[in-house]
C-alpha cells in the first residue's frame, strides 16, 4: 500500500462529548492532503490524536502499514510525524535555535552545543528555503518567521509527515505564497503533508485530495482535480453557502474620527505608529489592511486610550481625545471590540451578566450611589443575550465557560448596546465559524446603516474586502494607501501591505 498514514475509524471523546466520531483519513506518500471542516468540527482533535497528544477511545493508526500506538509526541516524532500547531508552541523567551532543539538537544560533554545546533538549523533552513535567524529571540520575530520556526522544528526531528493546522490564518498574502512554496518544496523532498485550512482557495491551489469532516463525523475524501470550492463548502457545512456579504451602498456623512500625525512608541522606543493620518465618517466602514506588526494594534490602543500616544491628534466628533483615559474615551462615544477577547474583552471569571456591564456598572440603573443593582444588571444581560443570540446556559454562567464565538457575540452586544458613534472592531471574527462570521458582519453593516462610523481591523483580506466601504492600507505605522474595495484585488492589497507603492502594486497585479 502506498499510504504512509492511515487513521481508521478514530473516535475521541471529551467527557461524553464526541469530538471525533468514527473518522478515517488516509495519507498517500508525497501528497498534500487537506482536512476541511467548520470550527469545532474536530480537525485539531484528530491531528492531536495522530501526534500523540490525545489517546483515541477507538480506532487504529497505521504508519506505512504497521499498526502503531502513539501515546506521546516523542513516539510521533520517532515515527516521522511532525506538527505545526494552530496556536504556536514556542517559548517566547528562548531563541529560535533553542526552540528547535528543545527535547533533542545537541550536546558536547553534557553541555548544549549551541554553535553546532545553530549550524544545523541554518543548514536545514537553507535546504528548505525557510529563512530564519537562529539566534533571534522568539518574542522579537514576526508571526511568519515564528511559523517557519515551527516548521523547522518538525524537519529538525526528521519528520516525513508534516501536519499543518491552519497555517495561513495568521499570515499575509505574501507570506501565504511563500508558505505554499515551502510546502511544495517539502513534497519535492519526499515529505507528505496534512493541511488544515478554512481557505478553499488554498486547498484548490496546493492540495491533491481533501477529507471533509462535519460535527465530528467523516463526510468523505475527494480528489481536488475533480471538485470545486462550492462543492467543498457545501460538503463542509451541509448546505449551500454564499461567499459574498450582502450590503447596500454606503452613505458617508460627517467625519466622526479624525486622526492626524499620530505617533506611538512601542516599549523599545521605536515609533511603531509613525505619523498616521486617517478619517472615518459616519455611515461608513473603513477597513484597515496590513501585515501584523505594522502598528495597527498600537493605533487602536492609542485611540482607545490603552496606550500612550507621543504626538498628533485624535478627534472624535471634533473633540480632542488624545491621551485621555479609557473611561473618558469610552464615554465620549467609542465602542471597542478588542482584538484579544480573553485579554481585554472579558473578565473570564465573571458571570457573563457582569461582563455585559463592564464599562457601565457605575451608571444608572446598574448602580446607585456606588451600590450595584444586580436585578437591573441581569435584566440587561438577558436582553442582550437574546438579542445577540449568545448561547449560554444562563446569564450567571462564567464567561470562561462559553465558546469563543459566543464570547465574541457577548462583547459585540455589549459594545453596540452602548450606542457609540465610533465602533472599532479589531479582528472581530478571528477563529469563528461561518455562521458566527455572517452574524457579526451583518451587525457591523447594520451599525453603519444606522449612521455610525465603523473602523474594522482584520488580517483576513476576504473580510476586509467584503465588509469595508473604504480600505486603508497600513505599512510601517502609516496609512500608505486608501483604496476602494470594488476597484482592487487581493494581489494589489497584498503588495501594498508589503510596502510597494500604489503604482507598482497596480502594475504587479495587472502583470
Amino acid at each position: 500500500m502506498d499510504f504512509v498514514i492511515e487513521m481508521l475509524n478514530i473516535r475521541k471523546e471529551f467527557g461524553g462529548f464526541v469530538a471525533n466520531d468514527n473518522i478515517t483519513l488516509q495519507l498517500k506518500k508525497g501528497e498534500i492532503h487537506a482536512l476541511l471542516g467548520e470550527n469545532g468540527a474536530g480537525k485539531s482533535t484528530l491531528m492531536n490524536v495522530l501526534f500523540g497528544l490525545y489517546q483515541p477511545e477507538q480506532g487504529e493508526i497505521r504508519v506505512k502499514g504497521n499498526p502503531v500506538n502513539i501515546t506521546n509526541p516523542n513516539i510521533a516524532n520517532d515515527l516521522g510525524i511532525g506538527m505545526v500547531h494552530q496556536h504556536f508552541m514556542l517559548v517566547d523567551t528562548f531563541t529560535v535555535t533553542e526552540n528547535i532543539i528543545l527535547g533533542r538537544e545537541v550536546t558536547t560533554g553534557g553541555r548544549i552545543d549551541l554553535k553546532k545546533a545553530e549550524k544545523e538549523v541554518r543548514e536545514i533552513s537553507e535546504r528548505y528555503g525557510l529563512a530564519v535567524d537562529p539566534q533571534a529571540k522568539i518574542s522579537d520575530i514576526s508571526v511568519g518567521m515564528q511559523q517557519r520556526v515551527e516548521i523547522l522544528k518538525t524537519l529538525y526531528r526528521g519528520a516525513e509527515i508534516v501536519i499543518f493546522d491552519e497555517p495561513s490564518a495568521v499570515l499575509t498574502p505574501q507570506e501565504i505564497k511563500e508558505l505554499i512554496q515551502i510546502m511544495k518544496t517539502l513534497i519535492k523532498e519526499g515529505k507528505s503533508i496534512i493541511l488544515i485550512t478554512h481557505k478553499l482557495k488554498e486547498i484548490m491551489e496546493v492540495a491533491d485530495r481533501c477529507t471533509v469532516i462535519r460535527k465530528g463525523k467523516g463526510i468523505g475524501t475527494v480528489n481536488i482535480s475533480e471538485t470545486n470550492p462550492n462543492e467543498l463548502a457545501s460538503l463542509m457545512v451541509g448546505r449551500e453557502v454564499t461567499f459574498k456579504t450582502e450590503k447596500a451602498e454606503a452613505k458617508p456623512q460627517q467625519d466622526v474620527l479624525d486622526v492626524q500625525d499620530l505617533v506611538v512608541k512601542d516599549p523599545r522606543g521605536i515609533n511603531i505608529v509613525n505619523g498616521l493620518n486617517l478619517t472615518v465618517k459616519a455611515g461608513e466602514i473603513v477597513g484597515i489592511a496590513g501585515i501584523d506588526g505594522n502598528g495597527q494594534t498600537e493605533f487602536i490602543e492609542a485611540i482607545t486610550g490603552l496606550r500612550k500616544a507621543e504626538n498628533g491628534s485624535i478627534k472624535l466628533n471634533g473633540k480632542e481625545l488624545i491621551n485621555h483615559t479609557p473611561r473618558k474615551i469610552t464615554e465620549s462615544g467609542v465602542g471597542h471590540i478588542p482584538q484579544d477577547r480573553h485579554k481585554h474583552g472579558l473578565v473570564l471569571n465573571f458571570p457573563i451578566g457582569e461582563n455585559m456591564v463592564l464599562q457601565t456598572y457605575n451608571k444608572k440603573p446598574f448602580s446607585k450611589s456606588g451600590v450595584l443593582n444586580f436585578k437591573e444588571i441581569y435584566k440587561k444581560a438577558r436582553t442582550l443575550i437574546s438579542e445577540f443570540d449568545v448561547r449560554t446556559p444562563s446569564e450567571y454562567t462564567l464567561a470562561r465557560a462559553l465558546s469563543g464565538g459566543n464570547q465574541q457575540k457577548a462583547i459585540i452586544g455589549r459594545e453596540i448596546d452602548r450606542d457609540p458613534d465610533l465602533l472599532i472592531a479589531a479582528q472581530p471574527t478571528r477563529g469563528l465559524d461561518v455562521g458566527a462570521i455572517e452574524f457579526i458582519h451583518k451587525r457591523l453593516i447594520e451599525q453603519r446603516d444606522h449612521g455610525k462610523a465603523v473602523l474594522l481591523i482584520s488580517f483576513e483580506l476576504d473580510e476586509i474586502l467584503n465588509v469595508s466601504d473604504r480600505i486603508a492600507v497600513i505599512y510601517e505605522g502609516k496609512i500608505v494607501a486608501i483604496v476602494n474595495p470594488k476597484e482592487t484585488s487581493e494581489q494589489e492589497l497584498g503588495l501594498l501591505m508589503a510596502g510597494s507603492n500604489r503604482k507598482e502594486a497596480g502594475e504587479h497585479s495587472n502583470a
Binding site: 479609557p326 485579554k343 481585554h344 474583552g345 473578565v347 471569571n349 463592564l358 456606588g370
Partner: protein
C-alpha cells in the same frame, strides 16, 4: 445543587482528614489520642472561660484573615499582614494612652488610628507595585521587619522612657467590657468580635455589592480587561492594599485595645499575620469562609494550650493538624474527584 453541596463538603472532609492524620501521628508516637482530643475540646469549649478565650483569639484571626483575603481577591499576595498588624497595635495603644477623651470619641479614635497605621503600612507596597511594578511579596516581607524594629523603637524611646512596655490604655479607649468578662468567667473576651464581624460584612458588601468592589474584583481577575473597561488599575491596586492594611491594623487594635491593653517591645513576630494567611486560604478568601476558618483556628490554638497539661501531648500537634487541613483544602481537587465519582455511582 450537588455541586454546591460538594463545595461545602470538601472543607469538612479536609478537616476530618486532618484530624485523622493527626490521630495517626499521635498513635504512632505513642500518645493517647483520645485524651489529647478531649483535652483540646475542654481547652476550647469545656468552660465558658475557654470559650471566651477562643472568641478572643478568633477576633484578630478574622481581621488578619480578611487582610490577606481582601488583597488576594485583587490579585495581590499580602504577606505583610504581620507588619501592618504590629503598627496598628502600636497606633491604637498610642492613642489609647496619650489622650484623655470621652469614650465615645477616644475608642473610635484609637480604632481609626490603628486602621490608618495599617493602611499606611500597606500603602507603600501598594504604591510601589502600582507605580514601579515592584513585587509586593518582597516589599511586604521587608515591611514586616521594618514594622517590628520601628514599633519597638517607638515604644522604647517615644511613648515610654526606655521601657519595654507602654502604660495601660485609658479606660476610655478599651474594648473590654466587664459584662462580657463576667459572662465568660473572666476571660479576656472583648467587644472586638463585633468589630470583626462587621469587618466580614463590610468586606462582603464592598466586594460583592458596590461598584468599587466590581472594579477591585475585575482588576483581581484581569487587569487588562479592567483597564480596557476604563477602570484605574493602579488606583485599585493601591486601594486594595490600603483596605487590606486597614483590616490588619484593626486586628492589631484588637490586641492593643482588647486582649492586652498595652504594647510591648517584641523580640520577634507574633505570628498572627502569618496565621492570617492560613485563615484566608482555608476560607477560600471569602468573608464567610474567613469567619469560619478563623473560628476553627482560634478554637484549635486555644484548645491546644491545654493538651500538654491534661494529656501530655505537645501542642505542636495542633499546628500539624492545621497544616494538614490547609494542605487538604489545597488539594480539594482530588477530594472533589473522589466525591464526583462517588456521587455518580450513587446516581447509577
Amino acid at each position: 445543587m450537588l455541586k454546591r453541596f460538594n463545595s461545602i463538603l470538601t472543607p469538612i472532609i479536609a478537616v476530618l482528614l486532618g484530624i485523622i492524620v493527626g490521630t495517626i501521628i499521635m498513635v504512632v508516637s505513642g500518645y493517647d489520642a483520645l485524651a489529647a482530643f478531649t483535652a483540646l475540646w475542654n481547652g476550647a469549649f469545656g468552660d465558658s472561660y475557654y470559650f471566651g478565650e477562643v472568641i478572643r483569639q478568633v477576633t484578630p484571626y478574622i481581621l488578619a484573615g480578611l487582610a490577606v483575603a481582601f488583597a488576594f481577591r485583587v490579585g495581590l499576595f499580602n504577606i505583610g499582614v504581620e507588619g501592618q498588624f504590629l503598627v496598628g497595635w502600636l497606633a491604637a495603644v498610642w492613642v489609647g494612652v496619650a489622650f484623655d477623651l470621652p469614650k465615645i470619641i477616644h475608642l473610635p479614635l484609637a480604632i481609626l488610628a490603628s486602621m490608618a497605621a495599617g493602611a499606611l503600612w500597606a500603602f507603600i507596597p501598594g504604591l510601589l507595585k502600582a507605580r514601579f511594578r515592584v513585587h509586593e511579596v518582597i516589599v511586604t516581607i521587608m515591611m514586616n521587619y521594618v514594622a517590628l524594629h520601628v514599633s519597638n523603637y517607638i515604644i522604647k524611646n517615644i511613648i515610654t522612657d526606655n521601657k519595654d512596655k507602654t502604660d495601660m490604655i485609658k479606660e476610655t479607649a478599651t474594648l473590654r467590657s466587664d459584662w462580657l468578662q463576667s459572662i465568660t468567667d473572666y476571660s479576656r473576651l472583648h467587644w472586638g468580635i463585633v468589630i470583626a464581624i462587621i469587618g466580614c460584612i463590610v468586606m462582603w458588601f464592598l466586594l460583592e455589592r458596590t461598584t468599587r468592589g466590581f472594579e477591585l474584583r475585575a482588576v483581581g481577575f484581569n487587569q487588562h480587561a479592567a483597564h480596557y473597561a476604563g477602570m484605574n488599575v493602579n488606583k485599585n491596586i493601591i486601594l486594595s492594599m490600603v483596605i487590606a492594611g486597614a483590616f490588619a491594623g484593626l486586628a492589631g487594635a484588637m490586641e492593643g485595645l482588647g486582649t492586652f491593653g498595652y504594647a510591648t517591645v517584641k523580640g520577634g513576630f507574633t505570628g498572627v499575620g502569618f496565621d492570617g494567611i492560613a485563615v484566608a486560604l482555608l476560607g477560600a478568601n471569602t468573608s464567610l469562609g474567613v469567619f469560619f476558618s478563623a473560628l476553627l483556628f482560634g478554637a484549635l490554638k486555644v484548645g491546644a494550650l491545654n493538651m500538654p497539661l491534661e494529656a501530655g501531648v505537645p501542642n505542636e500537634l495542633v499546628d500539624i493538624i492545621i497544616a494538614l487541613i490547609v494542605f487538604f483544602v489545597a488539594s480539594s481537587y482530588i477530594i472533589r474527584v473522589f466525591l464526583d465519582r462517588f456521587s455518580k455511582k450513587e446516581v447509577k
